[in-house]
Subunit: 273 residues, 4 copies
């Protein structure tokens, strides 16, 4: 046994929890999928199977429910902070807690009924005994525009066959994650605002490249929200390929497309102040 | 070679097509995943590899695009009828054409931008030289209510452990498929109406069982739309299990739930006049 | 309330169960995903919410485990028969029980260790008070051959662009379901034999069309197993498209392919005696 | 426009390529899903939409096929190095190329026929003008042992309900990625050896915790292969929960389990010399 541990991760993933908050005239409903990881002196478990310092991942799961019973799930960021604080308070040897929350978006249909949307809200909270770092985000926001997107003037080499276009479909599934400089803010309102800003820029932007759209979206978020230090946006270019109708004796007036999932362009940037 | 062919199926599945219809002030955008199957005297292909009667499935794919270029994709039912008619007109030996269309719902954000929803619209068209049968439907409409759902008074046997409840979460993913008695109707308006009726009944219904909710939803659709002969509704009971917090020293005031995908109740009915 | 119930389905899906059978020198391990549906006079549940005849689907789930504790999971067919018999014996008003079992294939690595394969074994058992019908099958058996597959001599129309080929890749995911004329047979040995026969025919067959390969596979199974009355085989044609390298200044000597999942050919037949 | 670019990523993901190598007596067949990303001075594309330095991701896709036509796909690592070298040679402004390859495992059934397995081989190659870094790995290797796994002696707190066990099922889906100190080695033989070592240790190890099994697996790989500098292994603990049969009036002699996908334990380590 001469090998060393360079790094370790241990925790519980895909813990699902939902909570109803009952008001006279309406119910609030939240649903999360949570992952929790603990940092601390757990090396001996790897090296010798000594579990004496190990909080079982089953206990982490139970704790997700126990804290949910004692605090609101809204906003996810504050729930996560309470969850992390519990582990730091309970176990003196735990040095850090990481929590990843995927919130399944339920849109209200009436005071007691909800429809699930496709997009997800994200919250990532990292706590140590020195402080807390909070990130929030959006995932799987599938949007598409049928105009104001071109791609031309690019570099050609001997394997380039792509035709330049001044008018293509731009379809993507937005993933954006941003960090907060403090926790003294309205997480829900900021989330809603960031989502709206990104959709508005996506819609309005005269895109010369997906890259340019990413920057424009991120820049707008940073302009609007001084408490956000940086934002990472990923826009897979989910191609809608114009179908070659000439071989069928027909003309494609830039109207008929074949949607594809693979391959796709992978375009990402982290934008900061 | 003594075995016989009892039945055969051949066609192309998962053909993806999208179309922009450009108007001055807005674009219309539709996206389908199409399956096409042909019926006819194709037995020799199976028995001897004689392909002389076989329309290649690649040609079916091309035809999906060719017809899309020559007609609107809206509504899916009329597009499918034109697609089927093409095969019947072109190939005298083809006796029938089946088309299944899954329409990916794109909700308008602005005149040229769309967000993809989670639910799908369905159209099933079966054409022969004698006529056409049209079915429409909705799939993956994920809804949930936090009240007005109970389950009690059921039969107990020695393996029953379920507790009766007068107030549970009812979460499901609606799939509904109905048939039309004629093609002389507004498919889009009827689809929107059926969707609204089913959601309204789901919301308002005081549910004693998922089965009862299915019947109420189907009955309401049939009452409202005389041109619909029958409707099949499937409501998987996607359980939100109350978490046992007593073992954690806490009380669950019917607030904290564990969402699950498996197992789930499978509840379905075909409702007719 | 004037609508009628044409048909109803109710049951529990995706019940997962595994069992270890411990022998001195080795363990046997089986894992199933089970669905159970009951037939009987359950209409009032739909019509009025009267649950008095309803065996809760939660009880069905419990029963899957209870019967697993009292009998072997091997073979799946016999387990299913015992499960169905339990419901018929326990509930006089139940007229039929349908069970669908997907068996996750675990291949032995040593006496106590297993690796999961990609293919699945299927068992479908339908019981009434008059008798039992048993089907068995294989699913998700992904195979591919790099020779002995051609496709030519097919019908051309104005939308045909496919090139004839005397040597293409044939890749597919086999699904086959067959019925047994009796239950007096060795289900495990027959399953293994059918699997081997189908793979052997797939391998050896000089295929002029996927359709022809299906018939050859099914015919061989029927020849070998008189207790099988019919077999339904589905072979999606998962295309490996030759890449056009000419536009890149290169030649494709039928060597470089783009694997695709969509669209795919959908080829199926039910073969009988 | 005051925001800055902290980092950028651009490339093509999910490019699928397969190649047949034809020998007299057998064919070799390989299938990859490839991602390519380029590093270089691409900031202006984000900032101003200036595409003049941008190699289109469509060209990257074409290049995957072009290089496949000119070299073997085996081993993936050498193919990736040639692919990366092409971009560095062709485009003077490109400073780095990252390639991720997922190889779909096809097991030979006969000289010309293959069955797809569930596990995947991984290759990650990062090239700059200063050198190349190669990582290899295995993913989705789903294994399970029915003995020699316990979990006891762990820390209890007020939310701990897990029972200690001296004999549980250990089921997991192995993901392991290791780095090579040089490229002067037999990648295929090393891959096969690492796979065998990890399975052998998983099988033989008397596991006191999943963590301990990870370390043992990684340590064994490092002992056997001096050219491997470090290895990261992830073993999700895919729980097989003993079913409570007492409430059904039965005894569970550690035989009947409910397999679950969520939640699962997430156990990982990076092991180094």
């Amino acid at each position: 046994m001469t090998s060393k541990l360079k790094s370790i991760e241990y925790g519980k993933a895909r813990v699902r929890v939902a909570k109803i908050e009952r008001h006279e005239d309406r119910h609030e409903f939240r649903e999360f999928t949570v992952a929790v990881r603990l940092a601390g002196p757990f090396e001996n478990c790897y090296l010798t199977g000594d579990n004496s310092m190990v909080v079982p991942t089953d206990t982490m799961k139970n704790t997700v429910y126990a804290i949910a019973a004692q605090t609101s799930l809204a906003p996810a960021e504050r729930y996560a902070i309470k969850l992390g604080q519990h582990f730091l308070d309970t176990h003196a040897h735990v040095t850090g807690v990481d929590m990843d929350i995927v919130e399944h978006r339920w849109d209200r249909l009436d005071p007691f009924t909800f429809e699930q949307g496709q997009s997800r809200r994200l919250a990532f909270v990292q706590m140590t005994r020195d402080g807390v770092a909070v990130q929030a985000g959006i995932d799987n926001l599938v949007v598409l525009k049928t105009t104001k997107s071109s791609f031309a003037g690019y570099l050609k080499d001997k394997y380039t066959t792509l035709k330049e276009t001044s008018d293509r479909i731009l379809g993507t599934s937005v993933r954006a994650v941003w960090n907060y400089d403090s926790t003294d803010l309205d997480f829900e309102a900021t989330m809603a605002s960031c989502r709206k800003i990104m959709i508005d820029v996506f819609t309005a932007h005269d895109s010369l490249a997906v890259q340019q759209t990413i920057y424009a979206m991120g820049d707008a978020v940073l302009q609007a929200h001084p408490q956000i230090g940086e934002i990472r946006i990923t826009l897979p270019n989910k191609h809608y390929l114009p179908v070659n109708l000439e071989v069928l004796g027909l003309e494609n007036k830039n109207e008929i497309f074949m949607p594809t999932d693979e391959p796709h362009g992978l375009i990402e940037a982290c934008i900061t102040r």
